[in-house]
Symmetry: C2
């Protein structure tokens, strides 16, 4: 704890001694990446600093109304900007994950690395890294509290967004008492919880709904009801007007069927191979199944790409999942 | 506050002076009704009392694994039981809402009425009523805290379930700092937040998925993209193997489409009329639209039943919704 306090003091000194900062997060940003980018932007402005927020990917529409989101610039907009020698990276486990934003940074830049990924490789010159935090936003909360600056509604909103999204709407196992206490405090600063939930968790695109409908029409259950799976073909994508981002969460519908332990989404790729997304409820470690096919992930969420015909891939994957289920049984 | 403390003391005395209690909630119970019933059951056991928990409706499957849920008995199981002269009613705004459970209660029974509905008509002899509470479970939390008994994981789990479900998973406008602080404390008593969320918020029936798929296949958007609607026919129900409970939340998919202000689910009834469910995002008061057709509800969620052919009903309802949207515009 006191070591974290020392880190907070050093990070604060790093910010106070600079004037112009680049704030950057990872490609394909999620709610914690965008929320944390914006929170640091607001924080720097409150401290009278200049902040340029950038992301190598476009800001997903669902985060577009968060306060300050319109100020996150695209990489090409900074083509003529002078390079940055002070950088704050949020939610970035590895410098590669910044994508081409690295080109904006001088080789001798000072870089504050704020992150909660266990795999963070401590790139940069200054660090606020805590793998026990539920979200990068949780680290930011504690850092901001240590500064004794006045919370604004905008700052609180962006930090809350990171907590909300990285805990899956306060549903994942990282929903700790400490997360909930911090969320309670943020609400006291005027955060509009239902507005954020609606924006970032409940907004659906037509592409998503089209994919969901097509996926559901293929839903199958194993005989014992413990495995559920769906297929999406190349045609489903082209006819749905859907993009990659629209796949978000569709596999969960298979996993969430009552009685199901493992949900699977099979998805045809242009290469002819099949992308397999696996979700497990409690008992099966699907990263083992994915690993067998050369993929990876976590115990509850994993994926792999398998070559073969539709029937072959389905049969091989279902067999491995059945075996994993049997191993779980007493 | 001190008045509430007096009420807590009286309620505690009521419990300590009795020996055998009936615990009852409303028909068609939701998560707060079941969670609060179970919480009072656990509380009474901790105090060495006998508790019989009953509901006029079956316990929905998604609450069936909550600790103690298997002890909530059906009305007919109590046919030969002697009537109860000490009763605790939770989340019941009006004695009628208990359904036939009233038949189990003596005419001179002492009844403790614990509820957060603004419309509660103060039936019973003792009261813990707070319309500012997000859930009946929030009142129970404060009452239990006032008693200085030791929280068990089971008790905390049931109270947490009420908070979680009545705030729509910490997403509705009743998600106050006080709710989040209490949720944080409950987690400290060992509540398994992801398990509860999975059980009560994320479990889907095959009937639900079938209805959702059929509903999505009819999804239409108004020209300006601000109204989305879906249809479900009698055939959809019969072919889906779906029941009333499976309709839960389907209309939200229309409301949640990006850009949509009002989502509508039209549903054929056996009578030939059409049941219309309306959900609004922020701006339109759909209870006015429902009211025009003789229905009712809240600003964000309302419903009505409209006679007429499919085309007629659709046209009339969409017209009223469009007018309501226009009135909202500056």
């Amino acid at each position: 704890m006191s070591r974290m306090n020392d880190s907070f003091r050093e990070a604060t000194r790093f910010v106070l001694e600079g004037d112009r900062f680049l704030v950057v997060s990872h490609v394909d940003p999620d709610g914690d990446a965008i929320g944390s980018t914006l929170a640091v932007g607001h924080l720097l402005h409150l401290l009278g600093k200049r902040a340029v927020m950038v992301n190598a990917s476009p800001v997903p529409a669902k985060y577009g109304k968060l306060p300050g989101a319109e100020e996150i610039v695209k990489l090409q907009e900074l083509r003529d900007a002078s390079p940055f020698d002070r950088v704050i990276a949020v939610d970035v486990a590895d410098v590669e994950r910044m994508g081409d934003c690295r080109s904006l940074i001088t080789s001798d830049a000072l870089l504050l690395n704020i992150d909660h990924h266990r795999t963070n490789n401590r790139f940069g010159t200054h660090h606020l890294i805590n793998p026990d935090a539920a979200a990068t936003a949780e680290i930011l909360y504690d850092w901001i509290e240590s500064m004794e600056i006045q919370w604004t509604k905008e700052l609180a909103t962006c930090v809350y967004t990171g907590l909300l999204t990285d805990t899956g709407g306060f549903r994942y196992s990282n929903t700790t008492p400490s997360v909930m206490k911090r969320a309670a405090r943020l609400l006291e600063f005027g955060v509009d919880a239902p507005w954020i939930a609606e924006q970032v968790l409940e907004t659906l695109t037509i592409g998503q709904l089209n994919l969901l409908r097509r996926g559901l029409s293929t839903l199958r259950l194993s005989e014992d009801g413990r495995i559920a799976w769906m297929w999406l073909t190349l045609q489903d994508f082209s006819e749905s007007g859907a993009g990659e981002g629209d796949l978000d969460g569709i596999v969960n519908y298979a996993r969430n069927v009552i009685g199901v332990e493992v949900g699977i989404l099979f998805r045809q790729l242009k290469s002819g191979a099949v992308k397999v997304s696996l979700r497990s409820r409690r008992r099966v470690d699907v990263s083992e199944v994915a690993g067998f096919f050369g993929g990876g992930g976590h115990a509850r969420a994993a994926g792999c790409t398998v070559a073969g015909t539709r029937d072959e891939v389905e049969r091989r994957v279902l067999l491995r999942v059945s075996e994993a289920l049997e191993r779980m049984d007493p």
